[in-house]
Structures are given as structure tokens and as C-alpha cells.
């Protein structure tokens, strides 16, 4: 008795593709951060030749790493990469162990739900758009008086927040899926390597 196993597998294949693609995006952002930083160092080094550091390189690193790390989260959850201690549960019956995996996935889903919910409120406080009616419908709180921006590049902070938010939302979706998946594993009495 399992819950819509074939649908679960199908959703899993699609989600794996999406989360992997997002992880690659994060990886490219990371590579770009590294390249921008190196370019900036070279520019700074050749100050005498008229070159210079890239403006706001620190901010690019900060924004980029936040977006990249959020983008890494869903794939890691799909692959169950998060650290657990299983030494004390190894002697338990197989099915109990799989059930504990299900509990772990559920707690991650719960936590990522809280993260997305709070992140949305934090993000909404920074978005200076939307009518009062729309904002209250989306529980976005009061419209900020002006858009908070980064120090050097004057990037409105809600923009990198939004990109990072994509990762958080996909993490929540993925973790809901992993709950479904590990529930099926528990019912089947078998665990698979994702």
C-alpha cells in the first residue's frame, strides 16, 4: 500500500531536473563571483595603469552568495544531503529507521515552511510597490517609505532578496515532495538512495 507511487516517481523526476538546474544556476553565480573578485583584484593591482577595482565588488559577492546558497538548498534536500546521526538507530528495525527518515523530512518541510513564510514577510517589507489593497491581500505589511538599497551600487535590496526567495520556495516544495517520498518508503518498508 503506497500513495500514488507512479505519480510520486514522476514528480520526483521532474523535481530532480528543476532542483538540479537551480543548483547549476547557483554554481554559475558562484563562479561569476569568483571571477568578478579576481578581476577586481587585478584592476586594483594595476591602479597605476589606469585600471581600478570593480565598483561594489563586495556587494556583488554578498548578493551572489546569498542567491547561490539558497539556490543550492532544494537539490541538497532532494538528495537528502543533510547531516543526521544514525549510529543510535542502526540497530532498530528497518521500518522504524525509514520512519525516522520520514520524521526528519517532515521536520525539514515544517522548518522550510516557516523559513519561506518569514522570508516572504521580510522580503515584502522591502518591496516599495503595490496598492494597499494588494499588499494587505498578500500580507505584505506597510509599504516602505523608500526602497532600501545597497551602499555602493544602490541596488534595491528587494531584488537580490527575490532571487534568493526563489530558492527558499523551491526548497519548501521539494521538502513537501520528500515527505511524500519517504512516506511511501515507510509504507513500502524500503528506502532508496535518492
Amino acid at each position: 500500500m503506497v500513495l500514488a507511487k507512479s505519480a510520486e516517481l514522476r514528480v520526483g523526476r521532474v523535481l530532480e531536473k528543476i532542483t538540479r538546474a537551480l543548483a547549476f544556476c547557483g554554481g554559475f553565480i558562484l563562479a561569476v563571483i569568483a571571477l568578478v573578485t579576481v578581476a577586481s583584484i587585478i584592476g586594483r593591482f594595476f591602479l597605476f595603469a589606469g585600471l581600478g577595482p570593480i565598483k561594489g565588488d563586495y556587494e556583488i559577492v554578498e548578493m551572489g552568495s546569498a542567491i547561490a546558497i539558497f539556490a543550492f538548498m532544494p537539490f541538497a534536500q532532494f538528495k537528502r544531503a543533510h547531516v543526521v546521526v544514525d549510529i543510535f538507530t542502526m540497530r532498530l528495525p528497518q521500518r522504524v529507521q525509514i520512519f525516522l527518515g520520514f520524521v526528519g523530512d517532515s521536520l525539514i518541510a515544517l522548518a522550510s515552511g516557516v523559513i519561506v513564510w518569514r522570508f516572504w514577510l521580510g522580503l515584502a517589507e522591502k518591496i516599495p510597490y503595490g496598492s494597499d489593497a494588494l499588499r494587505s491581500a498578500l500580507s505584505m505589511g506597510y509599504k516602505p517609505f523608500f526602497a532600501e538599497t545597497t551602499y555602493e551600487l544602490s541596488v534595491p535590496i528587494w531584488i537580490p532578496y527575490s532571487f534568493a526567495f526563489v530558492g527558499a520556495v523551491l526548497l519548501f516544495i521539494t521538502s513537501l515532495y520528500t515527505v511524500w517520498r519517504s512516506l511511501n518508503w515507510t509504507l513500502e518498508g524500503r528506502e532508496y538512495q535518492p
Partner: protein, 450 residues
């Protein structure tokens, strides 16, 4: 209930949750959330904190070193540096009794200089050194044991991901921590080589010898390790070197984060040059670095919630005052902490332990008198903690390095690996005692440079 009592209960419940396979990050976060609720009677402060905590933590400039170093390590893995390092080391040491095992240690030390992770070092060097040792008639125990132990050099020798985290928690200078780790790291490599030498004298049948290699070839293979030297020199020299003597103090070429970016780009460029890092390899590296990064940062996030709870209750300070009031001898307290790390290291990963314990242990260490100033004490304690948590990687039952090496040679029973690593664990313990007794070994290089 007082804050200290609530904190202790939360801590115990968190450990129980961790022991029943709740992901460590989630256990920390929940303990922090519910602990704060119990202490303040409301959830609003934590919920308010969570609005920006994720973004703020992940966008931290100093923490962005972590994914960059991980990427650098992955690129280095793909670029064939490990093979060059091992070849050079075995040309120089291979003809001695147990020489290939010593060479594996040397290779690990060299690879540790471009890689900040122990597991990556163990698996990369294992791939090149394990077949060679087995072909030369080294015993199963010695060849797997030495590689598992050598892998820990990945994190002892800078760059080191755990030291970056420690620097954040202890509010210490990351460059000084790297410098402080340098001599103990080299000492570790030396200790492992001596251990091999003793091992093969006690058990002469456990190792063979390779033919002596002429000096001409030795220098030829030695030259081939230049990329490691260049990248290490660039990264560590750039962040710790003094590039403008005209001005007082250390005028570094770039910040640690920039150094990590330089290292990643240099390792990547070298990988592309040698052809080891093709498009597929690049995507592989990215995914491995991505998973490791996600894992680490989720734990950091959970630990942030837990630590903000601890800070609110003031429990670490109360505990520190209580310990001071009891008049315990500082070295006894330190010894208890280190033993705690050794015991828990057997069951928990090193990063989680550091994140969990440093906010509690460091305030205690800071009020005790070790005859050093606060900064030196924090640097010294950081290196000691790093070493003892890394011992956990090579102690049964849960030593990740042991698993990694053992999984490469499926025919070797796990028990053999446990036996083989035992002398190296002893060497680690001996080194910890020496470093505790002589803080000067750790602090010497920092003192010379700064």
C-alpha cells in the same frame, strides 16, 4: 526556571532529537525556537529574527569563503594535482621501509594546502595512493589506516573550512587562525610519518619497499607539483603576506574571501589547462560544492537560531561564572572539554560540534587564566578544538574518513581499517597533549608575523 536551566533542558532535548536521526540543523533550530519561547514566553522575537536571518547569514561576506573554498577543493580534485603530489612524494620516500605510506601522508599534506575539506582529501589521495600501496604489498590495515588519517590533514592544513566557521563564532581574525594552524598541521604530517616508521618496525610484514629512484627523476617529478605550490602561495601569501614594507603592519594583497576566489579561479584554470576539468567535470564539481555548501549553511542557520537563544538566556556566561566560582583548575576544565570533543566526535560531524559547542565553551575558556591574553587563548583553543574534532573522523564507530577509504577497497574488512588507524589516533592524541602543554608551538608563527 532560570535561563541556565532552560538552556540545559533545551540542549539535552536537542541532543536526544539528533540521536533519533533528526537532521542536526533542524534539531538546533527547533531547540533554539522552543527554548526562546519557554524563556521569553513569546515567539515574536524569533519569528522577527527569521524574517532576515536566512538572507543575512547567507550573504555574509566572510562566510562566502566557505563555498569558494569548497569549489576550489573540487577543482583541485579534478585537475590531477593529487597524482603529481603522490608521485613526487613516493619518488623521494618510496624506497624506505613503509615509504609509500609516508608518501601518502606527504601527498595528503600537499593536497590539504589547496583543499579545505578532509573527506575530499581522503578520497582524492585514496584514489591514487591506495592501488599503489596494495600493489607494493602493503598490508590492508596500514594502507587504509594511513589514508584515513592523512585525510584529516585536509582540514588541519589551511585553508580550512572549519576554521572559517570558528573565526565567525569566536570573532577572531581568520588569517591569524590559518597561521596558527600551520605549524600544528605540519607537526601532524610529521607525526603520521613517524607513526608509519614505527608501525613498519613493529610489524615488518605490513609494508614493502619500492626501488630507489635516481635524483634526476626525483627532481623532475618534484617540479611537477608547481601548481600546488603556486596556488597555495597565491592564496595564503596573498591573504597573510606583507606586500608593502613601507607601511606598518601586515599589508595583505587581498582579503580572505578574495583569496578563496583567487584559489578557486586558479585551481579551475589549471584544471582546464591540464584537461582534467572538462565541462562534465565542471558540472560535477559545482554540484558537489553545492551540496556541501547547502549542508553546511543549513547547519549554520540552525545554529544561529540556537545561539541567539543561548545569548538571550545568558546561560554560557552563567555557566562560565559558576565554573570560575568553583575554582576548578583551568587545565582540568580544558581537558574535560577536549575529552568531550573526542567522545562526541565519534558520533557527530566536526562542523556541527564546533557550531554547537564553541558558543558555550569559549566564554568559559575566556574567563579561565591560561597565562595568555584573550586573543592568543582563543586562537590556541580554536586549533586544539579543530584537532580533537578531526580525530572523530578517524575513530570508530562513525569515522567518515574510515568509511570513505574503506569503500574504495571493498574487499578489505572494516575491522582491518579500524586496526590500521589506531596508531595514528595515538599520534593525534600525543600531539594534542604536546600542543596543550606548549601553546607557543601554535602561537609562534602568529607572533612572528603580526
Amino acid at each position: 526556571m532560570t535561563g541556565l536551566e532552560i538552556a540545559i533542558i533545551a540542549f539535552v532535548l536537542m541532543l536526544l532529537a539528533i540521536f533519533v536521526r533528526v537532521p542536526i540543523a533542524i534539531a538546533m533550530g527547533m531547540a533554539g525556537f522552543f527554548g526562546m519561547w519557554a524563556f521569553l514566553g513569546k515567539t515574536a522575537p524569533t519569528l522577527g529574527l527569521l524574517k532576515t536571518l536566512g538572507y543575512d547569514t547567507f550573504s555574509s561576506y566572510s562566510l562566502s569563503i566557505v563555498p569558494l573554498f569548497l569549489l576550489m577543493g573540487q577543482f583541485a580534485t579534478k585537475s590531477g594535482m593529487s597524482a603529481a603530489l603522490f608521485e613526487a612524494a613516493s619518488d623521494w620516500l618510496g624506497h624506505r621501509k613503509g615509504g609509500i605510506a609516508m608518501a601518502a601522508v606527504g601527498g595528503c599534506a600537499g593536497f590539504g594546502a589547496v583543499c579545505g575539506s578532509s573527506l575530499a582529501t581522503a578520497s582524492t589521495m585514496g584514489q591514487v595512493a591506495l592501488p599503489e600501496m596494495r600493489a607494493r604489498g602493503y598490508s590492508d590495515a596500514l594502507s587504509t589506516g594511513v589514508l584515513a588519517a592523512g585525510g584529516t590533514l585536509g582540514i588541519l592544513i589551511p585553508p580550512s573550512v572549519i576554521l572559517v566557521i570558528y573565526a565567525m563564532l569566536a570573532e577572531q581574525n581568520i588569517v591569524k587562525l590559518f597561521m596558527a594552524a600551520m605549524v600544528p598541521g605540519l607537526l601532524a604530517a610529521l607525526g603520521y610519518m613517524v607513526t608509519v616508521a614505527i608501525y613498519v618496525r613493529v610489524r615488518p610484514d605490513s609494508a614493502g619497499t619500492a626501488p630507489r629512484v635516481p635524483y634526476k627523476k626525483r627532481f623532475k617529478t618534484l617540479v611537477k607539483v608547481w601548481p600546488v605550490v603556486v596556488i597555495f602561495g597565491l592564496v595564503i601569501g596573498g591573504i597573510a603576506g606583507d606586500w608593502n614594507w613601507a607601511r606598518p603592519g601586515i599589508q595583505a594583497l587581498f582579503s580572505p574571501t578574495e583569496g578563496a576566489a583567487v584559489g578557486a579561479v586558479a585551481a579551475g584554470a589549471y584544471g582546464v589547462m591540464t584537461g582534467g576539468l572538462n565541462w562534465r567535470g565542471f558540472l560535477d564539481s559545482v554540484l558537489s560544492a553545492a551540496n556541501a555548501t547547502a549542508m553546511i549553511f543549513l547547519i549554520i542557520l540552525g545554529a544561529q537560531v540556537f545561539n541567539s537563544f543561548l545569548a538571550t538566556t545568558q546561560a554560557p556566561q552563567q555557566l562560565a561564572e559558576w565554573i570560575l566560582g568553583q575554582g576548578f583548575r583551568p587545565y582540568i576544565v580544558l581537558a574535560i572539554m577536549l575529552i568531550f570533543y573526542l567522545v562526541f566526535g565519534c558520533i557527530m560531524d566536526s562542523l556541527s560540534m564546533i557550531l554547537l559547542t564553541i558558543p558555550i565553551f569559549l566564554p568559559i575558556i575566556e574567563v579561565l587564566d591560561f597565562g595568555m591574553n584573550a586573543e592568543d587563548t582563543a586562537l590556541w583553543f580554536g586549533i586544539l578544538a579543530l584537532i580533537v574534532v578531526e580525530v572523530g573522523l578517524i575513530t570508530p564507530p562513525v569515522g567518515m574518513n574510515l568509511f570513505i577509504i574503506n569503500s574504495m577497497a571493498k574487499d578489505i574488512p572494516m575491522v582491518k581499517t579500524y586496526q590500521g588507524v589506531f596508531p595514528f589516533v595515538l599520534s593525534d592524541l600525543l600531539r594534542v597533549v604536546v600542543l596543550v602543554a606548549f601553546p607557543g608551538i601554535t602561537l609562534w608563527l602568529v607572533g612572528v608575523m603580526f
